[in-house]
């Protein structure tokens, strides 16, 4: 067993990562050790990154190999245009560090022009805020490890007497690249700002967002709803200016202890009015199985518009709607917000003859263009029941998702059954029609798929069933099985 991470006291006592646990125990007999849990580490990092959203929407987890990361995990925060909201860069950095230290983390941070420079200063320097343009000269005194390099490369450079970034910054480039590879120069250029480095934020930046911070944390659900209304009101001018309505919204509640609650809602049609937006969140919160855990309260609430669409400005009908009751869109929004959008659905037809695959359910959206789908249904209806078509009610009204196997006895192997046993009761067939053969879809089921022979049967009490025999006798199988698939009216 080896050490993966060591805390501050461990460092002081002379422990190193990679050491075996027995060696470390020999050095410090009373050493506390815990099993390494990468998943929990990742979860914690992601929780901290989520918390960092309160400073800027652009938060990136750094993705560096374990041996390059300088012994600790880190984040990049792009604070362009955000610092003034917190009273300047120094104040912002202090706020971040204070809060993280209060939560018990050992943190270092720096603000610089490039991600690479900030990375180096945060780890290998005491300077925290590097003035714009000053990082190039300031970097020269830092050790080469600040360039995010592989340990092997660092060793090699150290043997050559190259210890600080200043040693290599102005050396001729071509021989360097030939000897040490592109990585060294790339990292150097990134740190100095000669080459752009993009950080990859975890979350997409919301199209619009408004937030409100509280000196005294809020706990009550009514307060949260009122805040949501206030924030929605603040978003309104932005939406109006662009003629947009929100399709997907997110309410982020930052709890005092660092936990972040995110409530997402989707609207069936673009919404912009404050009461509609508040209603969506009310229904969503009401649909939670347990109450919102407010703990010691939320000190920052933010409303993000994640997805927006052009608003349809429809003139309201002066005569038809009498003002009572709700509109259809509101109902769908309400049901979708409380139950989840995937539980409020509509039927769509699919182009296949296998009954259970011939239709699907899609989430309902008020502005969907289902003209094509409707055509398909009408076609089906006309073909089966129109004036000219055959007058047969050939499809059941109730279909079982999974055909249920029945024990059936047929007179001849490929004829209709005489009696069958379904769900432990026996049915004697009085009338039957069929078969209607539906071949398997070889392009989906593969070579071994069996055809189905559907029979409409009626038993002596009048129950009408849709049952099928899977597999053609002797051509596909010796022992075809029977299945119950639907109930007729």
């Amino acid at each position: 067993m080896r050490l993966v991470a060591i805390d501050e006291t461990g460092h002081k006592a002379g422990l190193r990562t990679g050491q075996t646990l027995s060696d470390a125990r020999a050095l410090i007999p009373g050493l506390d050790s815990f099993d390494h849990d990468p998943k929990a580490d990742a979860a914690l990092l992601s929780a901290i990154a989520t918390w960092c959203d309160r400073y800027t929407p652009l938060v990136a987890l750094e993705h560096l190999p374990e041996n390059v990361s300088g012994g600790c995990a880190g984040f990049f925060l792009d604070i362009s245009g955000c610092a003034h909201l917190f009273g300047g860069e120094e104040a912002m950095l202090e706020d971040i560090l204070d809060r993280l230290r209060a939560a018990g983390f050992l943190v270092g941070a720096a603000i610089a022009d490039t991600p690479g420079a900030a990375w180096a200063f945060a780890r290998y320097s005491d300077r925290t805020v590097i003035a714009p343009g000053a990082h190039e000269t300031a970097l020269l005194d830092l050790p080469l490890a600040g360039l995010r390099l592989e340990p092997d490369l660092l060793d090699m450079l150290r043997k050559l007497g190259l210890r600080t970034i200043g040693c290599i910054a102005d050396l001729p480039r071509a021989p360097f690249a030939a000897r040490f590879g592109n990585d060294l120069l790339r990292r150097l250029d990134q740190a100095l700002g000669r080459e752009d480095e993009a950080i990859s934020p975890r979350l997409p930046v919301p199209e619009l967002s408004s937030e409100r911070a509280f000196a005294e944390p809020i706990i009550m659900q009514e307060d949260i709803e009122r805040t949501a209304a206030h924030l929605a009101g603040a978003l309104r001018p932005g939406l109006d200016k662009r003629q947009l309505g929100a399709r997907e919204l997110e309410l982020k509640l930052f709890r005092v202890d660092g936990h972040v609650v995110s409530i997402r809602v989707r609207a069936a049609s673009p919404v912009h009015s404050v009461p509609r937006i508040v209603m969506l969140f009310q229904e969503r919160i009401a649909g939670f199985h347990e109450d919102l855990d407010a703990g010691f309260g939320f000190d920052l609430v933010r409303l993000n518009v994640l997805q927006s669409e052009a608003r349809q400005n429809q003139q309201t009908d002066l005569t038809a709607s009498s003002g009572q009751g709700e509109a259809y869109g509101t109902l769908v929004d309400k049901l979708g917000a409380r139950l989840g959008m995937d539980r409020v659905q509509h039927y769509v037809a699919a182009d296949t003859h296998i009954p259970e695959r011939s239709f699907g359910l899609l989430p309902e959206a008020a502005d969907q263009d289902s003209a094509a789908q409707k055509l398909l249904w009408q076609d089906a209806a006309r073909q089966d029941g129109g004036k000219a078509g055959p007058v047969v009610l050939s499809r059941p009204v109730v279909l079982f998702d999974r055909p249920e196997q029945v024990e059936a006895i047929a007179e001849v192997p490929d004829g209709p059954p005489i009696r069958f046993r379904w769900r432990r009761s026996l049915y004697c067939i009085a009338r039957s029609e069929g078969p209607e053969r539906i071949a398997c879809e070889w392009w989906r089921d593969g070579r071994g798929g069996h055809s189905r022979d559907y029979f409409r049967v009626e038993d002596d009490e009048g129950y009408r069933f849709w049952i099928f025999r899977q597999g053609l006798f002797e051509r596909e199988t010796r022992h075809p099985k029977w299945f119950m698939h639907g109930l007729f009216a």
Binding site: E326, A381, V392, V398, E433, E458, A489
Partner: protein, 280 residues
Amino acid sequence: MQGNRQDMAVLQEAVARIDRRHASFMPGIRFDGDPANGLIRFGIPAMDAVFKDGFPVRALHEVRCSLTRDIGAATGFLAGLLAGCMQERQGRIAWIRDPACHLDGGQLFPAGVSMFGLDPARLLVVHPADLKTALWAVDEAAKCKDLAGAILHVKGNPAHFDMTATRRLMLKAQHNGLFVCVLRQGGEEEASAAATRWHVKAAPSGADPDLENGIGLLRLGLVLERNRNGRTGQWTIAWNQQRREFEHAPTDIVDRAAASSDRPDRAPQMGQVMAFKRAS
């Protein structure tokens, strides 16, 4: 005192006049028996006779079946009824299913529903996670003026769904002019505020004129167990696929006498009908 009484009479008359004027705009309140006011006729004289002005579409109804295997018959009857009721009306129909029904009751088959003349694209299918939210959902649906109808499919007799809940649904249905229907799968009859309650059972179909041993027009044994505005009754009806409507289908067995009109009507049944026969 005399003057006051006269003033009172004048005021009352004025209020009545205002009421009448508003009522004529308000859907769901019936002044005469035309379809615009949500009253339809089945086209079967025996059935229309029990509804004085017509079948009230804008109200709460109940369709039930005693056994799970009858759910096909009950769904078919409801689909035919819906298709008949919805010809005049635009708007979607919310079909809300209690998750308990799904296990043994299967699901709606759009291709089959469309054969009854009901466009499946008009259905808004809601699958709540439990019965409580299902009841909430149908309450919300009944409030929506753009919907044409709301169906609540429940299994058995859930305790939450009581007289108060049905009364609330009935009021909303009348107020917003919706067809609201409870489809009860395999339940007992239960007191409710519904305008009508139908019990549906599959009945043996007649002979097919074209096909030997074929299935003829599908028949349903229908019992109108409860009717708020008239008598109850019992008929066997058949679905005429060609004309897309129900028609009276007299069977060889003479229709039994209609259940008595003054409730409570029938002697309580002894024992309980189980959903399935034991095979062994």
